[in-house]
């Protein structure tokens, strides 16, 4: 069974894809059937993934020898593209996590999307989304990865814009798609460069080649490749400055946000960088770029999240921030820490998004946290699971987030980039603060009489509970005392970081401080005067943060002034130079044509006449001049 699952890991992405096809072509008119099909296939996929992951993690052989199955997709001189699966501990972890989250999200969606006219379609999209992500994770080469990468982008576009009757949803979908497309262009260039330089895109071959890259190219070229490859993840994983699409992506239905933010889309970038760690590891500068980008993004997003009011928006910025953490970890060379955080983050972020969805569901899509309050009494399961998520993300032991975040801080500290470590620590504080600000505002405090919340149905709360359990205990596989994770997922050699008690304690302290500050500002102070006072006092800062540093506006300006301006200059060039040449040649041709056209009457019969004249001439010439050709005409053998 396990053997089967491992050797048929391609089933994992294929099953949801089949579900997609079935729903689209067969069961679309019957919503319940569609969701049943989708969940059944997803469950099968999850079981397969779990078995495969189990198989991988129980056999130490796979630590260094990934399981690779490939078939030749197409081949020609100098360009051979395979398609296949690449199963190693990282991807095994990923397929397990992705399929699990996707499964839970789908179960959750049966409650959340109930009665929606696009119910079937939604499930088909979810299936396709999961299939794309799983396919990407299992890709054995860069091009295949890129294909699935783009599929992921497409699905996110479809799902973000699912409520296509809303202008904002359409805009958000477009924004997500275009932004990631911009980034993907860089990625594509990087892939092309890899293909040109190394002549292959397969990971296993590249892994062999990368350490000896001097044989193929220069260090500068390697850096360029790494940077180009990094641009893709910057877009996909919402790193500064291409993070703008991610907060808007919550326009989609909340389960989609959970899927995008937790398990699929955004971690794709992290995964891609992790997968190509062998390339990045060779060029220090690229790694440093990754680290800086990650750290800055983490801090930057956290500051924005402090002032936001909409529950999903806060969560979105927290995602950006956490992704920054992951990038930072990669940048300081710790694949282990990065993926560990990816793992834990998937659970608690999915949990929080789904819980937020549950809240929105109950409040009829009223998103502003300031208009909530005391929800925990009416929605105990949602509330308490959310609290668990909050504890996890804030980094309170023994919840999952603590262990992974601690790992990252430790890695940053040990890498010697102390500034980055500092930034990460502050971010940890901010994270705890804005998370608990939200929790306090939404779930505690006074109930708002105008709200009539109610607990969500079981098919929505069960996934919450499952995720809450995972968010609580998911980190226990990577504690200093139980370093299972570190033994399996690493780059180069097994990671072994000595636990640093100071860092651990300081991070707990920072988290506690953040929670405490939030408590002071938003629970103790019933009128919340202090919070408002603070906001008033630091009005410019508050406005800057609330408006997300005006990044969107800057992009707008950039597009309007720089892009349009340069387009105008190009336009003039086009009109006078390019068109001049084109029109000039056209004029010459026209002049010639006006003379020549008298030979062309447009009358078929005239053409036929000329044609037969030629036939006559040729016949006569052949028959009466050349003896050998006359045989041809007259036929027969002499």
């Amino acid at each position: 069974m396990i053997e089967f699952a491992m050797h048929h890991a391609w089933l994992v992405p294929l099953l949801p894809a089949v579900a997609f096809v079935i729903i689209v072509f067969l069961t679309r008119p019957w919503p319940r059937l569609s969701s049943a099909v989708s969940i059944a296939f997803m469950l099968a996929s999850f079981v397969t993934a779990a078995l495969a992951a189990y198989g991988v993690f129980t056999d130490p052989h796979f630590k260094h020898h990934p399981l690779i199955y490939t078939v030749r997709w197409f081949g020609m001189q100098g360009l051979n593209i395979d398609v296949g699966i690449y199963l190693d501990p990282s991807s095994a972890m990923m397929i397990f996590m992705v399929s699990l989250v996707a499964l839970l999200v789908q179960i959750y969606s049966t409650g959340y999307m109930k009665g929606d006219p696009g119910y079937s379609v939604f499930f088909s999209y979810l299936s396709l989304f999961a299939a794309s992500m799983l396919g990407m994770v299992l890709s054995s080469n860069l091009l295949q990865m890129f294909v699935f990468w783009e599929l992921v982008g497409l699905c996110s576009y479809l799902l973000i814009g699912f409520y296509s009757f809303k202008i904002s949803a359409r805009e958000a979908a477009k924004k997500a798609f275009i932004t990631t497309r911009v980034a993907d262009f860089g990625l594509l260039l990087g892939i092309l460069a890899v293909q040109i330089i190394f002549g292959t895109l397969n990971f296993d071959e590249l892994t062999q080649m990368a350490p000896n890259f001097e044989n193929y190219t220069t260090a500068g070229m390697m850096t360029l490749i790494a940077v180009l490859l990094f641009i893709g993840p910057v877009g996909k994983s919402g790193q500064f400055p291409l993070h703008v699409w991610l907060p808007d992506a919550m326009e989609g239905p909340t389960p989609v946000s959970a899927l995008i933010h937790a398990a699929t889309m955004v971690v794709a970038g992290v995964y891609l960088v992790g997968r190509n760690m062998f390339l990045f590891a060779e060029v220090e500068s690229a790694l440093y770029l990754v680290a800086v980008t990650g750290a800055f993004t983490a801090f930057f997003a956290a500051t924005i999240a402090v002032t936001q009011r909409e529950i999903k928006r806060i969560l979105a910025y927290s995602t950006v921030s956490q992704l920054g953490y992951m990038m930072l970890a990669l940048g300081v060379g710790s694949l282990t820490a990065s993926f560990f955080h990816l793992w834990t983050h998937a659970f608690f972020k999915a949990l929080m998004f789904l819980a937020a969805g549950s809240v929105l569901h109950a409040l009829h899509h009223k998103a502003d946290v300031w208009e909530m309050g005391g929800l925990i009494k009416k929605m105990p399961i949602t509330g308490w699971t959310f609290v668990i998520g909050g504890l996890a993300i804030a980094g309170i032991p023994p919840f999952a987030g603590f262990w992974s975040k601690d790992e990252i801080l430790l890695a940053a500290y040990q890498s010697g980039h102390y500034f980055l470590f500092l930034l990460a620590s502050i971010t940890a504080f901010l994270t705890a603060f804005y998370m608990w600000r939200m929790i306090f505002l939404a779930f505690f405090g006074e109930e708002k009489p105008e709200n009539h919340p109610h607990e969500s149905p079981a098919n929505m709360t069960v996934p919450l509970v499952v995720l809450a359990v995972l968010a609580a205990v998911g980190g226990l596989i990577g504690t200093p005392s139980t370093p299972l994770w570190q033994q399996w997922i690493y780059y180069g050699h097994p990671h072994h970081i000595e636990p640093n008690v100071i860092i651990m304690l300081s991070s707990i302290a920072l988290a506690a401080a953040g929670i405490g500050l939030a408590y002071l500002l938003y629970v103790r102070d019933k009128e919340k005067t202090n919070a408002k006072d603070l906001a008033r006092r630091f009005q410019p800062v508050y406005k800057l943060l609330y408006n997300k540093y005006y990044i969107d506006e800057m992009y707008q300006w950039f597009t309007r002034v720089v892009v349009d301006g340069s387009a105008r200059i190009t336009y003039l060039f086009d009109i006078y130079v390019v068109d001049g040449i084109v029109n000039g040649s056209a004029a010459i041709t026209k002049g010639l044509g006006s003379v020549m056209r008298y030979f062309q009457t447009g009358k078929v019969q005239t053409y036929a006449l000329v044609f037969y004249m030629a036939v006559l001439v040729i016949t006569v010439v052949l028959a009466f001049t050349d003896a050998s050709s006359s045989v041809l005409v007259m036929g027969g053998a002499e």
């Binding site: 005239t606 006449l609 006559l616 016949t619 006569v620 028959a623 005409v633 007259m634 027969g636």
Partner: protein, 173 residues
């Protein structure tokens, strides 16, 4: 005697064919042209009979005289305009075309006559069961052209329907 009969019928049929073909070209009325065309086709069928191509003669009558001509008649009726008595006139190329065709004919005739001895004649007999043999040939050695012809006809059918379809601007109700 049989030979003489064959000779006589050949000359008669040839005269009919050439005369009616000329009438096809000369008639000023397109309907007359088509009717003369039917006569030409029937004459050609007669020639096929003389050449022991019984089946082909029947096909000629069925397809050409029975179907193609009717189709052309329909075409004429659908494109009727003005006086049909002068619907089939010559154009200005007559002066060039006439000598050209004459030359082509004389060249062909000369070459044919000149190459009389080059034709490898055979004294073989025509099999009695012509239809059966043709069927065998069509469905064995020539099955691909046969099927292709079928597809060609289908495509022509669809194409003709599509092209000739009238674009309805208003609905009945």
């Amino acid at each position: 005697m049989a030979n003489a009969l064959g000779t006589v019928s050949f000359w008669i049929l040839s005269a009919v064919i050439i005369f009616s073909a000329l009438m096809v070209v000369i008639s000023r009325n397109i309907v007359h042209s088509i009717l003369w065309l039917v006569v030409t086709f029937l004459g050609t069928a007669g020639i096929y009979l003389m050449l022991d191509a019984l089946f082909l003669a029947a096909v000629q009558v069925l397809v050409y005289a029975g179907a193609v001509c009717i189709m052309v008649v329909f075409g004429v009726m659908l494109t009727r305009r003005g006086n049909i008595r002068h619907s089939n006139l010559f154009n200005s190329r007559l002066i060039i075309a006439a000598p050209l065709v004459g030359l082509i004919l004389s060249a062909a005739a000369y070459l044919t006559a000149a190459s009389t001895d080059n034709v490898p004649l055979s004294d073989g007999k025509v099999p009695a069961d012509t239809v059966g043999s043709i069927g065998q040939w069509l469905l064995s050695s020539y099955v691909i052209p046969f099927e292709t012809a079928a597809i060609l006809l289908l495509v022509a059918l669809i194409g003709a329907v599509f092209l000739a379809r009238e674009v309805k601007t208003d609905d009945r109700h």
